[in-house]
């Protein structure tokens, strides 16, 4: 029943080799990179794959998918491969975690094994790797072999960048495609297309970790910082909760102007404005803390932060981010100005009820007083306070 079938592979070799781009799939907007301690370094997320068509995926239902009508021919039936004896996979007598390979998959990989064993570095082997990658873009050894061939043939690398872009757009959360991209860009010594590429990916998923990592690498390697802060501004205008963009803001400033006094002041104002829009979102609060950490005078030394917080608090705002930030401000001031400790600790105590659901102080008020007095009189004030807050 399962004899030679005509099946389609969306971007296979044979003829569709140019810049035809397979449909760009939409990534989901989450940060997950499926920490691949998990998966070596592979892996798209399976759950995503089930919601979209991937090259080489189950072919039974792909005959009528309306793609360019290209017909798949098995390698074993191709004249130009007649000189090669395919090498089957050897999984041993009692394999575990087997995969139900399709016939087309086994055919491609049988020929791949054959050319690898032969040490063949040729154009046709290059095309073969493209089919192998289309069927499993997470197979890092195929990518390594492909790079070996490209090197050997002195292939046109601009064309390789196009192929790589297509692969990235189809597999935006796959480690191998991004790594390949980086190697090719390094070989070319030209990072001019990288910012644009990552922007395409961010337009589908503004938090794609791979793309951010790639962008930071390109910015650093090719010194492309001009305009980066404006780009981050645009992303934050689109979504002020985009933690990746806040992180990029911190990165960009640290690599360019640095956190000078003026920059800190500017960033504090910028972040305060953002917080007013989304007081319950943690990202700008974290960034604010990150910015003022660069200030030699500590958290409390920047402008009117305390008054600004106090005003929000008085207006009834009780976001846990506001309350913990106020506690940080108080702690910082107490650390620097021991004479303020009695009055500020009293204030901490008063707010204990309000922040009780965020930070667990000892349960009874008596215990709290003892604990806080202990902190006040200790040489290791911050240490004790941290202990209390965490106990």
């Amino acid at each position: 029943m399962n004899t030679v079938r005509e099946v389609e592979i969306p971007t296979g070799s044979m003829k569709a080799r140019g810049p035809e781009v397979a449909p760009v799939t939409s990534g989901r907007a989450d940060v997950s990179f499926e920490v691949s301690l998990s998966m070596g370094s592979t892996a798209n997320n399976i759950t995503e794959e089930n919601t979209r068509r991937t090259p080489g995926e189950e072919q039974d239902d792909s005959l009528d998918d309306g793609s360019d009508g290209e017909t798949w021919v098995f390698y074993r039936e191709r004249k130009e491969w007649a000189d090669i004896t395919p090498v089957p996979q050897d999984d041993g007598p009692h394999a575990v975690v087997k995969i139900a390979y399709t016939e087309a998959f086994s055919d491609v990989y049988d020929y791949l094994r054959a050319v690898v064993a032969k040490g063949e570095l040729s154009e046709r082997a290059l095309y073969l790797t493209e089919d192998a990658i289309n069927m499993n873009a997470a197979n890092y050894t195929v990518w390594q072999y492909r790079r070996k061939i490209l090197r050997h043939l002195g292939s046109e690398l601009e064309q390789e960048l196009n192929f790589c872009r297509e692969m990235i757009e189809m597999n935006p959360k796959n480690y191998q495609v991004w790594h390949h991209r980086r190697v090719i860009v390094e070989w070319l010594g030209d990072g001019s297309k990288e910012l644009k590429l990552t922007e395409i990916i961010f337009s589908q998923d503004a938090k794609n970790y791979h793309a951010w990592e790639h962008r930071q690498w390109a910015l650093k390697t090719f010194k492309l910082y001009d305009g980066e802060l404006d780009y981050v501004d645009r992303l934050l205008e689109e979504d002020v909760r985009n933690n990746s963009a806040w992180n990029q803001r911190h990165f960009t400033i640290s690599q360019t102007t640095g956190f000078t006094k003026e920059v800190i002041q500017r960033e504090v104002e910028y972040t305060k404005a953002a917080i007013t829009k989304v007081v319950d979102n943690e990202s700008p609060w974290s960034y604010l803390r990150g910015v003022v950490q660069h200030c030699e005078g500590g958290l409390a030394s920047v402008g009117d932060l305390w008054e600004w917080c106090q005003k929000m608090y008085d207006e009834g705002q009780c976001s846990p981010h506001l309350l913990t930030f106020m506690l940080d401000l108080m702690e910082d001031r107490m650390e620097r100005q021991p004479d303020l400790r009695p009055s500020l600790l009293k204030r901490c105590l008063e707010e204990a009820d309000a922040v009780g659901y965020v930070i667990s102080l000892p349960p009874s008020r008596g215990q709290q007083t003892v604990a806080l007095e202990m902190a006040m009189n200790s040489d290791n004030f911050t240490g004790v306070l941290t202990y209390i807050i965490n106990s």
Binding site: V31, F33, E34, V35, S36, L37, S38, M39, G40, S41, T42, A43, I46, E49, N50, G56, E57, V87, P88, Q89, D90, G92, H94, A95, V96, V97, K98, I99, A100, Y101, T102, F105, R113, A114, A117, G119, M135, N136, A137, Y140, T141, Q144, Y145, N174, W178, H179, V183, Y209, E213, Q216, N247, H250, F251, Q255, S286, Y287, G290, S360, T386, N390
Partner: protein
């Protein structure tokens, strides 16, 4: 499913992992080079579910043999040893017999994550690690460390980051030989990866992330550098802060009531990774009568005791390989 309490579908998850050990559908083909990792998720998951007894002695032995069959056994040549370790699958394994050319050995290399998951799987199955080529595995780990302290995954070229650092630390801990790691540069890399958010990214300046923070902290722990590097109370020992009931309900809401297994989100398809990590998380919360897990090595505490026993045996008799 919506609302109410979700029951924990233990028996179905046992079956799910049993199926993972046999055959995965073609939609899982991206795991073709990571089958060892899938094996490990299934075995460690079965262990936490107290379901390893489902595998009879013969089946266990077959699995152990399969794992060892993926170990690369190099000669004494240092370059060859750098390409040693365990593979994650057999994609290129059969090329070796067909050719003597170096091209194959450079492509058919061990992978650091597969080496870690192979060793962890062997421990879970009660193996004594006596067939592990220790010098070659150590040469493989040593060859993968970058000047910045982080690790590559494989000799043939890969990205380098915190994930592979963790795998290196786990391998060295299991084999009780830290000579392959420059721990000073590794620790420096980890601390440089701490972002303003107070947690770690995959590298310097990258966004802090739960996954990389876990890898970073577990690495410091395995290297014995945790207390000297980080203030423990800031990051760890904080399980009390979690709303464990809500967490459990979320994890259970991702169960697939028909096939078993857990997914990343409710109403999506389960996979071995999320099934294992979900169950492992419940074990950390001491829920659902699961065996306790060791959070640093990601094996049950029972499997860890077995490993510690092996460690005692080597220290008693250093000539016996661990």
């Amino acid at each position: 499913m919506s609302g109410g309490e979700y029951p924990f579908l233990r028996a179905r998850h046992v079956k799910y992992f049993r199926r993972c050990l046999q055959v995965l559908p073609f939609t899982s083909v991206t795991f073709d080079t990571s089958r060892m990792a899938v094996l490990y998720f299934a075995l460690s998951g079965l262990d936490l579910l107290d379901g390893l007894s489902e595998l009879d002695i013969k089946e266990r032995q077959h699995i152990i043999n399969w794992i060892y069959s993926l170990q690369i056994l190099p000669g004494n040549d240092r370059d060859e040893q750098a390409c040693a370790g365990f593979r994650g699958g057999t994609t290129l394994a059969s090329c070796r017999g067909k050719s003597s050319c170096d091209a194959v050995s450079q492509l058919d290399c061990g992978h650091i994550t597969m080496t870690y998951t192979a060793l962890a799987s062997l421990i879970i199955l009660g193996d004594d690690l006596s067939r592990v080529e220790r010098p070659a595995v150590m040469a493989h780990v040593a060859a993968l460390q970058c000047p910045d302290g982080s690790f590559f995954s494989t000799r043939g070229g890969s990205e380098n980051d915190m994930r592979f650092m963790y795998c290196a630390a786990a391998i060295c801990y299991i084999l009780q030989d830290f000579s392959a790691i420059n721990t000073t540069s590794a620790t420096k890399y980890i601390l440089n990866s701490m972002s303003y958010e107070g947690a770690m990214g995959q590298g310097t300046h990258l966004e802090a992330h739960g996954g990389s923070s876990y890898c970073a902290i577990a690495t410091l722990h395995l290297l014995g550098k945790l207390d000297s590097s980080l203030s423990r109370t800031q990051i760890l020992g904080a399980l009390d802060y979690l709303d464990t009931t809500a967490l459990r309900q979320f994890v259970l809401s991702t169960q697939d009531p028909i096939t078993g297994g857990l997914a990343k989100y409710p109403n999506s398809n389960p996979d071995g990774l999320h099934t294992y990590l979900g169950i492992s998380g419940l074990s950390l919360l001491r829920k659902d009568d699961l065996k306790p897990v060791d959070p640093a090595l990601n094996i049950s505490q029972q499997a860890l005791s077995h490993l510690h026993q092996l460690h005692k045996n080597i220290s008693k008799n250093p000539t016996v390989p661990c």
